[in-house]
Amino acid sequence: MERSRNDLWVGLFVLIGAAALVFLALQSANLLSFSLQPTYRVVAKFDNIGGLKRQAAVKSAGVVVGRVESIAFDDKSYQAKVTLALENQYAFPKDSSLKILTSGLLGEQYIGIEAGADEKLMAAGDTITTTQSAVVLENLIGQFLYNKAADGGASGNAAKGTAPKK
């Protein structure tokens, strides 16, 4: 093998390229936080999952304890059937409840687990039914307007009712 000068420069080029790939994988995509912990599956039924997606985080007290594995629709109960993969190292009481929460105003949706008080622990294949749906903005606004109208009507009546007494 002659021409060792080229060898050096090509080696440098490949090294720079590989360094760029490693930078992309580690610094921008965070390969290391990719969890390879063994997991167990739990099914949860929600009335409305809002914008929850596969691979969304499952958090308890803000710590990621698992991921959403799949989302399906159950046409028997007309609910969303969400399969969660929880890490084996974390155990939760059987009566723990789930909530769909949003990180920040426009952030991603994730599932929050609130631990219950049962002595028995959740096992693989369990179904959780004590769940709280995602907050849907339209329903919230509708409810707000409805309450506002009810308040307005009540105070109007009250004003009318009290007027003749004076």
Binding site: M1, R3, N6, D7, V10, F13, G17, L21, L24, S28
Partner: protein, 260 residues
């Protein structure tokens, strides 16, 4: 209306079909020569040096400026919605998924593809390729295949350099110049960019573009008519055809990769 004449039309269609078939055959031969090229890696190495190392400067500088611009434009748009912390995510996703592979392929076609076409076209015009055939040296094996595989090796590395330098450029403008919180910049990026779905698909894209651009450059050079005008026309065609193919392929690849 000469071209409506069935004989003329049929001849044109037949010639186009023959060109296509010849191109496909050459492509297949180049793919089949992978092992042969790797066995004489010295030839491939010299071509990586020529195609990769010499393109590094233009790729790096372009990536830096694209990153600067993304940082500025992204910040001005995102701050309207009060989410300028997502700047890192925006810069990283747009670079890794789209701009890195595509802009690198366009620059690669301009910087390396043209020189491949001109080199091979001139070899053909100077009857060097014929002379090699006379000496029982296969020009496809000795000249084209090492260049083809060197292009395929160099292109993903160049695209990765482009994306990485671009992210650093976006960081420089966003964090150092404008003052976006660095923790949020990197944190949102790491939360939103997936290694396989985003970075991996970007690498696949740049591989496909490397094959496309290098093959088109080689084919145009190999098929150039052996005159000065022929070589110049082939060089122009390399840039036009390679750029259009890259953009069209990008649409198809994006539709396939990110549709779900």
């Amino acid at each position: 209306m000469n071209w409506l004449n069935p004989a003329v039309l049929g001849f044109a269609v037949r010639r186009k079909l023959a060109d296509l078939g010849h191109g496909a055959r050459l492509f297949w031969r180049l793919c089949a020569l992978f092992m042969a090229s790797m066995r004489r890696f010295g030839l491939v190495r010299d071509q990586i040096h020529f195609l990769g190392n010499y393109s590094l400067a233009i790729i790096g500088v372009s990536g830096l400026f694209v990153g600067f611009v993304l940082g500025l434009q992204g910040y001005y748009t995102l701050q309207r919605y009060g989410s300028s912390e997502a700047l890192g995510l925006l810069v990283a996703l747009s670079l890794v998924r789209e701009l890195g592979p595509v802009v690198t392929a366009l620059l690669f076609a301009g910087r390396a593809g043209t020189s491949l076409t001109a080199e091979i076209g001139l070899m053909k015009a100077g009857e060097q390729l014929s002379a090699m055939e006379m000496m029982a040296v296969d020009p496809v094996r000795r000249i084209l295949a090492p260049r083809f595989w060197a292009g395929i090796i160099a292109m993903p590395l160049l695209a990765a350099v482009f994306s990485a330098v671009g992210i650093l450029g976006g960081w420089a403008v966003g964090v150092l110049l404008i003052g976006v919180d660095p923790g949020a910049f990197w944190g949102q990026m790491q939360a939103g960019v997936d290694v396989w779905r985003d970075v991996g698909n970007g690498v696949v894209k740049s591989l496909v573009f490397g094959v496309t651009v290098t093959f088109i450059a080689l084919l145009q050079g190999y098929e150039a008519s052996p005159t000065p005008e022929g070589v110049s026309r082939a060089t122009t065609r390399t840039v036009v055809v390679a750029s259009l193919s890259v953009l069209a392929l990008d649409f198809i690849l994006t539709a396939m990769m990110f549709s779900i």
